[in-house]
Amino acid sequence: MIQLSTKPFPLPRPARRLEIGSSDLHLWRISADDGLPYVDRLHKSLSEAEQLRASKFFRDEHAQQFVIYHAGLRDILARYLGVAPIEITYQASSFGKPNVISGQAGQLKFNLTHSSQLAVVAVAVDAEVGVDIEEVRKIRSFASMIDRCLSDAERKDICVHQEADRHRQFLRFWTHKEAYLKTIGVGLQAPLDRVTVDLQAPDSRKVVNHFHVFPKEPTVRLMELAPCEGFVGAVGSTHDESPEIKTFGWVSGRCG
């Protein structure tokens, strides 16, 4: 289980470029509460399209979270690329997974997830990454969600758990599946009940059943994340060996 750092990242930007090797997996934690005092400043580091999107949210709280997480993502990627956060441009793959296009960014891979007050960014080079976190909560239409999203083996596993733990257990499966699908870049267009995850298996064998459209290679490693109290999560990657994991706490006050 990977515990995420809440310790602020010590390097002020732009002291020097942050190094990342092909066997590394970096995980950044972004807290919306920590970013809130800086939200106006962070807003300025977003692209016009992101600013427009931020202006459309029904709830101010969601707009603020959007600004903090996307400004945080830009600032984090900028540290690796040695460019200003605003200079970063994204391009979506055919299934909507974004990649960075600017300068030497080709090999830098990243993925963002957020739930409520928390976001996590996974970063790697030469390996695909996918990450998902969820705040533990009661799932609406739970019986129908279990039917739609879990395989037979996973449904049996849920039933073994005490009633009170079932929603949490469901979200553990959910985050592992979503991390897997985000790693291979297809997102939730996939039929979730056709993929089986074994939470007890070693990282490289957690995905035990692929729907036939998914490639068997490269192997996706799935690692469970403990983002913080009250959240569950998982991160997937296509590293050949178990990646060297480093975790960082992103501090918005130091940005810009």
């Binding site: 029904f58 969601h62 609406r140 999203c149 939730l188």
Partner: protein
């Protein structure tokens, strides 16, 4: 869009208005707000639904409409209004 007619058991004649009202009521409950405060021309994106909630809503809507809904059509019909019109017009 996949219309799985074989599994259809619900009323196929729901109007765009009925579908729109159903979605607005659903979102209002989810967001703990009044249905009047929800603008039908708003995008689903603007409500910041997490993916589990979005999949849950699609599932409940499928049960209500009695037909399969491909969750990815929301990219082509991103607002409540467009989505409802599409589903009502789709046989």
């Amino acid at each position: 869009m996949t219309a799985d007619q074989s599994g259809a058991s619900g009323d196929p004649s729901k109007s765009a208005e009925e579908i729109q009202d159903w979605i607005i009521d659903y979102l209002a409950k989810e967001l703990d707000t009044s249905p009047n405060s929800i603008d039908p021309s708003a995008t689903f994106d603007s409500f910041a639904l997490d993916s589990a909630t979005a999949i849950g809503m699609t599932g409940d809507m499928e049960n209500w409409l009695g037909k399969r809904i491909d969750p990815t059509i929301v990219y082509d019909y991103p607002t409540i209004e467009e989505f409802s019109n599409y589903l009502a017009g789709q046989k």
